[in-house]
Amino acid sequence: MTGILQFLKGCGRQIKTGNRAYFAWLAALSVAIVIGVIAYVHQAQVGLIATNIRDQVSWAFYIGNFTFLVGVAAAAVLLVIPAYVYHWGPLKEVVLLGELLAISALAMCLLFIMVDMGRPDRLLHMFPLIGTPNWPRSLLAWDALVLNLYLILNVVVVVYILFQSYAGKETNKKILLPLVLISIPVSISTHTVTAFLYNGMAARPYWNASILAPRFLASAFCSGPAVMIILFQILRKTTRIPIKDEAIWKLAELMAYAMFINLFLLGAELFKEFYSQTQELRYTQYFWFGLGKHRALVPYAWSSLLASVAAFFIFLVPKLRQNWVTLNLGCLLIWSGVYIEKGLGLVIPGMTPDTLGEIYEYRPTLVEWSIALGIFGVGFLVFTILVKISVPILAGTFKTSGATPASH
């Protein structure tokens, strides 16, 4: 007990110390969270009518953000594979940071699902024993299962690594390796099941394409590592964790390949739609060119494509990916490209026009933007705090004061 108390106190100390930039960052996140909370209270009072969700476009911005973040969460852990293959040195650190990112992304995923629900008070109806989950037929029920499993796995790995380091002990490869190996297929399955959630809907031809799940994975390999590249640079500057330049460059190179596959799959889809010109072209057309005067998403579509292609070239050319300015620019571009593609670009055209041919032009309301801002605030806050506590533990500067571990 005293050990845990001491640990918590230590954590508090870690969180409370930092430079000015750190506190400014925390303040900015708190503002975002407060805005989000205010907006959500309003939405909870009046209902989802505070959003621009309607019967025609019944899933929208929240679900798009959820989809994007599932990708971030999945890819973060998959980094373990290249880290292992290419001997990036501090494998444990890479694993841990990836898992921390995954935990934060999953927290945001769950929050986005919660704010999208009409009756969050009845969430329990989805859980086994207390509720009546529709297994194995409903894909949302599956998604809830794999996402929670993934979350638990990540938490276990993180707690294990941190606890061992905190206690001044080595991590046992025999325990860690199987856990990491299990989390790889689970991470892939979270993303695949989320893709299937859309993919399985025959009523929505835009989603009902088998290319969807592969595209999800390809784009996840772009967005997840982008965060890691930026994080690695910050950590190298502020801590003693040794991350080699080569590791970062290799990551950028891998992202270029992932982006190539993503763009190739996109091209294959576009070819099929525009060449065969069936009824189903309407959804794709709405996204890229608009239907008549309905063109709300067109600017998003092209800026997403532009950002993705630009990032692809930056990461492909060694000179550009080894230049820190262009590298970070590439990360931003890839992040925004995939964010649009997996957010608005996937969900909205799937429902526009709707199943009876009506075109309802959806744009997020201020409330939706504010709630999303708040959730990102929570996610980044969780991530910041987790990193703030974990890094000194890994670096060995934050450990148990007793000569022997306080508890076991």
């Binding site: 209902g47 019967d55 025609q56 019944s58 109806h125 025959a202 929505r204 026009p353 199943t355």
Partner: protein
Amino acid sequence: MSPRNPLPVVPDAPIDLAPDLREHDVDPERRAFLRTAAAGAALASLAGCGGLTMEEFFRRHFKELTPGQVKRVLARVEASNKERFGRDTKVTAEGPMEGVEFGYGLDLSRCIGCRRCVYACVKENNQSREYPQIQWIRVLEMDKEGGVDVSHAEQYYEPATVPRPGKFYFPVQCQQCRNPPCVKACPTQATWKEKDGIVVVDYDWCIGCRCCMAACPYGARHFNLAEPTLPAAELNPRQHYLGNRPRPKGVVEKCTFCIQRSRNGRYPACVEACPVGARKFGNLLDPQSEIRQVMETKRVFVFKEELATHPQFYYFYAT
């Protein structure tokens, strides 16, 4: 912020009816189409026991409730109706009848697009009137030249008179699919298909995730974006638990073939309201029923057959 694009409240368009069709509506009770009807056990009771919020919270799935528990649930709904609308209501939960499977037929050659069915449905089924405006039946106006094709469908037509030249009308509501994608998608089993073919929603179990709306190919499911607006004076007091009882905010609803009527041997409100007799309804298992007669003498088709939802709702052209 983008416009909300609410559904317009369209007044009954003045229509020109052939005189012989004007008195089309016959007393529904006289046209007892449910020959095989067995009296469903009426579970409703007025046993009053309020303040059951905890019970509500820890309640089990509707299908797992014992008759006694159902009774209490119904009493609770009646009590909450009283609180919300200040009116006495009768909420029942009659189950499906033995040997009955409902089928619906819509005669596209007769429909004139007047939307009387839409308003009769709204009234009968206690739908939210405005903001959000919910209508379970959507009448699509399509070009005669284009045939049945939603890419040139218009729902918001407002001409002085209907039908408009060159147009035909294609009403869509829940098709009560035999292979319902909505039921498959629902993560909580809050929506299911009953033995008589009606796909129902338990508004007390639905979590409002809207998976079912994404899955439905017919735009048949509607979401209570806000607390429904329903004037107390317009409340229909004869209610079914799985049908037209007033809905709370944040749940999904849909056409139930007027479960509160059809399970009592009555026609759905839309069938009665149609001034041209375009709507047919009956028991698919009864060879003498109106719907079976239609299938026998006309050729029927189902909407979006390529999706293999196998609707219990048929379209046909009588002439």
